[in-house]
């Protein structure tokens, strides 16, 4: 219990002193995870929606694959991305290993199946509601997808936030592909792992508190930006 208390105190001191390193690390965490989120959403939202409205031969198989990918351990993703981006790997010439970009790639791979899967679930429901009308109005597939995404944006935001939560709290993959290099690829989670390794539990926990607070801020910001809590006027 005293350990947790010490962590709280440490977190408070960290934030209070506006430690330059802390700000640097926090901003990088945000940058990496938000970039990953945007890219993942650009792929996963249309994909999940498309899977909900299209019937094709291997649809079940694709959905099963998606759900299976959702359970992929981040470390494995990290390892695969590492092997791909390594100088010895096929994309070595891009020189992306141990850069924030590599971390973004890993996170995109981790959260895309998650977002796509939740999107698919939510969109199936909405599609069964809209099906008759959209067919009747002779809409194209593109129009159907955009309509569903727009009208389902509340649920989709939950999907996106779930993805963001997973991305910002992830450590296994980004540790491997980012390398936890100070001022380059060190983010909150890898810093926490590092401090834990040094036995500095208070600082580690302090960073953890900052991480939670950050996650909370992002959630609240997105919620209020999209005015989900406001009913009445649409």
């Amino acid at each position: 219990m005293s350990g947790i208390w010490a962590g709280m105190v440490e977190a408070f001191l960290l934030v209070w002193s506006l430690d330059a390193d802390l700000i640097d690390i926090t901003l990088r965490s945000l940058k990496v995870s938000l970039s990953a989120l945007v890219i993942a959403c650009a792929v996963a939202l249309p994909l999940g929606t498309w899977l909900a409205i299209r019937r094709f031969r291997h649809r079940r198989f694709v959905i099963a694959t998606l759900n299976a990918l959702m359970g992929l351990p981040p470390v494995v993703v990290g390892l695969i991305v590492y092997l791909l981006l390594s100088r010895a790997g096929p994309f070595g010439v891009l020189d992306l290993l141990f850069t924030p970009t590599a971390m973004i790639i890993a996170q995109v791979i981790i959260i895309t199946p998650l977002i796509a899967s939740i999107t698919h679930q939510a969109m199936r429901e909405l599609w069964s509601e809209y099906h008759d009308l959209l067919i009747s109005l002779n809409t194209t597939h593109g129009q159907r997808i955009t309509t569903l995404i727009w009208d389902g944006r509340r649920t989709l935001m939950t999907a996106a936030l779930a993805g963001f939560g997973r991305a910002i709290g992830e450590v296994g993959a980004i540790m491997i592909v980012g390398g936890n290099i100070d001022h380059v690829t060190r983010v909150l989670t890898t810093a926490i792992a590092l401090e834990t390794g040094k036995g500095d539990f208070a600082l580690a926990l302090g960073l953890g508190v900052v991480l939670i607070a950050l996650s909370l801020c992002v959630n609240l910001t997105i919620h209020s930006l999209s005015r989900t809590e406001r009913e009445g006027r649409w």
Partner: protein, 237 residues
């Protein structure tokens, strides 16, 4: 320019779970104004309308419109038995079909304002459509269908659950549309309404057309026993 019959059904069968819910039937529809489809629950009225509109696949047989399929589709609108509301404002619901057609913003605003007023929902244009009352939703669905100025309008019990006044309002709107040249194919369980509006009647029972006639003859002297019983208010098996 009207070509009659405007649609032909040949040997149409619709099966659901190995059971024929419609047909086999051969049918030709012609003439403007109101074609009212009557029949007991489960007769296949909704199925027939959807087959005509092309949103329900036939198991076998063919549906042929007198114009190309594309033209036919573009000129049609459908109001479903239970209205589908987009999770948007009333305004956005009305605007949606026009946006799909690429109508200009100014024109959309004008038509939306017109139809909003026409169905008495001007005051709640920015209100979420799914929160409207059932009757209001039905009116909105109708306005959303008419806002495209369709030449063929399918209505599946548009006045179910509406009070007398609203029914009257809707009938006025529909008559106005037919006068402007639209043809309406509509189901109803309200025999009074059928009598008021019908130009032609199609009587369906157990997935079969039992009688197709002009309204005058149908209501005065139905030929089939099923229709006679139906008009008498008997429960037909």
């Amino acid at each position: 320019m009207r070509r009659d019959p405007f649609v032909q059904l040949q040997d149409v069968v619709v099966k659901r779970r190995a059971k024929a819910v419609l047909g086999p039937m051969n049918l030709e529809l012609s003439g403007g104004g109101f074609t009212i489809v009557l029949g007991p629950n489960g007769a296949g009225k909704t199925t027939l309308l959807k087959v005509l509109h092309g949103v329900e696949r036939v198991t076998s047989g063919s549906v042929t419109w007198s114009v190309s399929d594309k033209t036919a589709q573009q000129g049609q609108a459908y109001v479903f038995q239970s209205p589908v509301m987009l999770r948007r404002s009333v305004r956005a619901n009305l605007a949606y079909p026009l946006q799909l057609l690429g109508v200009s913003k100014a024109e959309i605003a004008e038509r939306v304002a017109h139809w909003g007023a026409r169905i008495g929902l001007s005051a709640v244009l920015d209100f979420p459509a799914p929160h409207l009352s059932g009757g209001e939703q039905q009116k909105l669905a109708l306005a959303r269908a008419l806002i495209r100025r369709p030449d063929t309008l399918f209505l599946d019990e548009p006045c179910a659950n509406l009070d007398g006044r609203s029914t009257r309002e809707i009938e006025d709107i529909l008559c106005e549309a037919t006068q402007a040249g639209a043809r309406i194919i509509m189901t109803t369980h309200d025999l009074g309404q059928a009598r008021r509006l019908a130009d032609r009647v199609l009587f369906l029972n157990k997935g079969q057309v039992e009688e197709q006639a002009h309204a005058d003859t149908f209501f005065i002297a139905p030929k089939s026993s099923g229709a006679t019983a139906f008009l008498n208010g008997d429960i037909i098996e």
